[in-house]
């Protein structure tokens, strides 16, 4: 009798290993078909002269191996990441600036018109002028990336500061917190989840701007790599570069998300 009662309430057993593996593999079905069609189109539909437009996945893999072994990929990747990182450090001035604009109306009233004038200009539109200012190289690239990262951080910081729960500020004040303490120990921390969101968006925009800047104004980096390979008609290398750019963008996003999830466990928006 108790046996039947138990059988009714018992949880379903976990799926068997084979079933789980099959489910996992099932999700790879579409990408596998995609690669198959690509391989077929490239090797069978295209002839020897047009194949250069779409090299097969096998040729791309071979190029990736070649670039990894000779260190080229790592060299260009390191240069791109270094530029992104330097520009990011500069763009962090958006945090104190955004806090000041979000907190003091006077600061906002003074700076907002200028920011609103500059913000709608895409970073890429600055490329011609910046090449004249800084020449071809790191400084010009970093300037373009900086513009990409700066505005998302600034706008999110301002919104984060303005969105701080008013009662948190009141609580801090009636516990004896002065203006400086309220700002440092409550407002900035309460706005931090949104500041981190700004950093995530900014790094993404910056990474896209970086590749564009390197296409025209650099002698190294992933953007330079794919443009340089184009002039040599090495489309396999172009595709390797494109994949690397995508993977690094994804990795940056996951990295920031993981850091914020660990550093801000109290923030609900970060736990998703």
């Amino acid at each position: 009798m108790t046996g039947t009662a138990r059988a009714i309430v018992s949880l379903p057993p976990p799926p068997a290993l084979a079933a789980r593996l099959f489910a996992r593999l099932g999700r790879l079905a579409v990408p596998a078909v995609f690669l198959g069609v690509w391989q077929f189109a490239s090797t069978t539909l295209l002839d020897d002269t047009t194949r250069v437009l779409l090299p097969p996945p096998t040729a791309v893999a071979a190029a990736a191996w070649e670039l990894t072994v000779n260190g080229q990929l790592l060299h260009h990747l390191a240069d791109s990441l270094r530029r992104e990182f330097v520009a990011f450090l500069w763009a962090l001035v958006a945090v104190p600036l955004g806090v000041a604009m979000g907190w003091w109306k006077l600061v906002n009233d003074q700076l907002d018109p200028l920011i609103e004038m500059l913000r709608p200009i895409p970073p890429l539109a600055w490329i011609p002028l910046s090449i004249l200012w800084f020449g071809v190289g790191d400084t010009q690239n970093q300037f373009i990336i900086f513009l990409g990262i700066f505005f998302p951080i600034l706008l999110n910081t301002i919104a984060g500061v303005r969105g701080v729960e008013p009662n948190l500020v009141r609580a801090a004040r009636c516990l004896g917190g002065g203006e400086g303490a309220v700002l440092r120990r409550v407002v900035v921390l309460a706005a931090l989840p949104q500041i981190v969101t700004g950093i995530r968006v900014g790094l993404g925009v910056g990474w896209m701007a970086l590749v564009a800047a390197e296409l025209v104004g650099a002698n190294s980096g992933l953007g330079f790599l794919i443009n340089d390979a184009r002039t040599l008609l090495r489309t396999d290398i172009v595709i390797v570069g494109m994949i690397a750019i995508g993977l690094v963008g994804l990795a940056l996003d996951l990295l920031i998300r993981e850091i914020s999830r660990r550093a801000l466990p109290w923030s609900r928006s970060m736990q998703r």
Binding site: E165, N167, R170, A171, C174, L175, G176, G178, A181, P265
Partner: protein, 264 residues
Amino acid sequence: MSDVRIEHVTKIFAGHSARDPAVLALDDVSFAIADREFCSIIGHSGCGKTTLLNLLAGFEAPTAGTIEVNGRGVGRPTWKRAMVFQDYALFPWLTVEQNIVFGLEMKKVPADERKAIVAAQVRLVGLEGFEKRYPHQLSGGMKQRVSIARALSVEPEVLLMDEPFAALDAQNRALMQREMGRLLARTEGAARKTMVLVTHSIEEAILLSDRIVVLSSRPGRVKEIVAVDLPRPRDEDSAAFIALRHRLRDLINEELAADSGAAA
């Protein structure tokens, strides 16, 4: 001595347009709260009771009139008038312990003294074992315990409470009201603080208060001040309690009738 004097206080919220006209929230409100008295302010929503509390804390300034605590005019917010909020207003990035110690750090209490004060407050509100938890790991009732401990830890002259139990479920609310009543019964004499409670619960007001200020609605005026001379802890089923509850309900219902009559 921590007596509060509210004299001819009027508060007008400025309007922004014809569709959003100025609002007279409080109209010539005067009353005094004695040192170590527990005073409740009741009235139905929109009577300006929370506005009055915000003026007491110094979050806002009265349009006219004066508020004095200990004979000094109320200025900017300070730890001398700590507040307990309906939504707890705990710092989500700080643990229970760190939330309670926040005010002590602001007050520059020496580090070695802080620990003992926090431990005493944690014991007082029954949060032992939860010191390292974050607010999002606590129930509503426990959050409000933290908030009360945090406000009491700075030793305010006046403790202000804005509907502190309104967001709790019925069981937790009753529990917290009883515990607050017990806490008040235990701290008769020198350890008692002057307390001001804003609530819309008549039972809560009778359970806890020495005196109850009934505010009229739109604009808020003092309608009546009722003294509660019942021994603590109070018995909700006693005849005196029930009689007082009827009287207060009638006072508030009169307001409700006047309000809907005016609106019709």
